[in-house]
């Protein structure tokens, strides 16, 4: 096949995107674990590792530029690269949300837990499941799957509502919980935003495949 080098470059770039995806997924999982177990050392590790995620994103961006300059891609090849340039920004931001959660863990320190954490880990698991599948859809060029995954953001939004309402009752009953409850709302917000970032990835996937640039679902938040 002609243009073997371009195909080779694109394959390499997609592999790197998947690597970044797994780094980000791990960061969210570890940040939630640190929160649940109040593992401050793990939280510090998540914060330190965010620099690696940022660097990975910059490396991929560099490689995209290199492909554009040396291969002059057009049409679907160009759209894939434009999509990657956008997707890596969204993933890097999800990494920032993980870092934000880890910072909250450190802020909570050794304060007593408000309640056992159930919905927050559920939100994290759902958002990361969406991330993993959205990247599969991107690599597998499956725009229908991307549209479906994007719609699942509603589930994360609903969990966010639930967490918010529950924490509100804690604060109303006992004002001494306000600081801790507010911080947990921040955690929920970080997770809700992460899922929103996944919907962006889905939109870029649809663009890469079909050339259509459109919003495919609007988040409640």
């Amino acid at each position: 096949m002609p243009r073997e080098s371009l195909s080779h470059y694109l394959k390499g770039l997609q592999d790197e995107v998947l690597v970044l995806g797994s780094m980000v997924e791990k960061a969210i999982a570890r940040s939630i674990k640190s929160l649940k177990e109040r593992d401050l050392e793990l939280a510090r590790q998540v914060i330190a590792d965010d620099a690696r995620i940022n660097q990975k994103r910059l490396d991929i961006e560099e490689r995209c530029i290199e492909v554009v300059v040396t291969q002059q891609p057009v049409a679907s090849d160009l759209r894939i690269i434009i999509a990657i340039l956008n997707i890596i920004i969204d993933m890097e931001r999800i990494g920032d949300h993980a870092e934000g959660i880890a910072k909250i863990t450190i802020m909570l320190g050794d304060e007593p837990p408000l309640k056992p954490l159930v919905d927050l880990p559920r939100m994290a698991a759902k958002a990361m499941d969406m991330l993993r599948r959205s990247l599969d859809a991107f690599v597998g060029r499956d725009s229908e799957a991307a549209v479906k995954i994007s719609a699942e953001d509603d589930e994360v939004d609903n969990l966010y509502d639930q967490v918010y309402r529950e924490l509100l009752t804690f604060m109303l009953e006992d004002p001494s919980t306000i600081t801790r409850a507010t911080r947990l709302i921040w955690v929920a917000h970080n997770l809700e935003r992460s899922a929103d970032r996944v919907t962006n990835i889905c939109e870029r996937t649809v663009f890469a495949i079909t050339g259509k640039m459109e919003e495919i679902g609007s988040s409640k938040y």
Partner: protein, 251 residues
């Protein structure tokens, strides 16, 4: 945007071989239209039908219509010299005559009966300026056209076309024999010329088509597969054959 040239169901045959199949295309006025496609796809044949340059090739025939400002240029009463005056052409290899720069430029006007020396001086200056060559040759108009560099020769050929004040300029791979700097000059010139002329360019260089043109037509096996705004063709082509060709996955 009015079409300057329209082709309708245009077919062209070299003997029994059909080189163009029902090509219907509007060339928009004051725009640059690029024709791309693999070798032998019919794009140059198509270009030459636009000013009846194929007439000189024996054993060929044409069907369909080519309308210039709404008039079919293949009607029997049409004067082919007049057509070629209105629709000029620049070729792949710069082909100045073995004459002075001055004589090269005034060749066309002279053939058309313009002989007044002052007017000829004006034509030469105006044409060479329009072809962005004046500053480089104004002190040496007696020098042979063949003594110029390749890029200058191509601009001289362009000046020769412009001297007869055409409305449309056809360019058949005008930069394929030029280095990148000379190519850039021609491309910049095209952007200026499109203010006053309508340009159709055949090019093998897809980056060039993407850079210079407003509209792009993709030809394959004598058929116009896709014709659209250049930005659309190169970002989201509709036909898979176009996609395969421009992404280099053809064949």
């Amino acid at each position: 945007m009015d079409p300057k040239i329209q082709t309708k169901e245009l077919g062209f045959y070299y003997g029994k071989v059909q080189a163009l199949r029902k090509v219907t295309l509007d060339v928009k006025e004051h725009q640059i239209t690029a024709l791309i496609g693999p070798s032998g796809c019919g794009k140059s044949t198509f270009l030459r039908t636009l000013n009846r340059m194929n007439d000189i090739i024996p054993n060929t025939h044409l069907e369909g219509e080519v309308l210039l400002d709404g008039l079919n240029i293949y009607e029997p009463e049409i004067d082919v010299v007049e057509v070629r005056k209105r629709v000029g052409m620049v070729f792949q290899q710069p082909n100045p005559f073995p004459k002075s720069i001055f004589e090269n430029v005034i060749f066309g006007p002279r053939m058309l009966g313009l002989n007044h020396l002052t007017s000829l001086d004006e034509v030469v200056e105006r044409s060479l300026k329009a072809a962005a060559l004046w500053d480089e040759v104004k002190d040496n108009l007696g020098k042979s056209g063949l003594a110029l560099s390749g890029g200058q020769q191509q601009r001289l050929c362009l000046a020769r076309v412009l001297a007869v004040e055409p409305e449309v300029i056809l360019m058949d791979e005008p930069c394929s024999a030029l280095d990148p700097l000379a190519t850039l000059k021609i491309e910049e010139l095209m952007q200026e010329l499109k203010q006053s002329y309508t340009i159709v360019i055949v090019t093998h260089n897809m980056q060039q088509a993407a850079r210079v043109s407003d509209w792009t037509g993709f030809f394959l096996l004598g058929e116009l597969v896709e014709y659209n705004k250049t930005s659309e063709i190169f970002s989201r082509p509709k036909d898979k054959r176009t996609e395969d060709y421009i992404t280099g996955r053809f064949g």
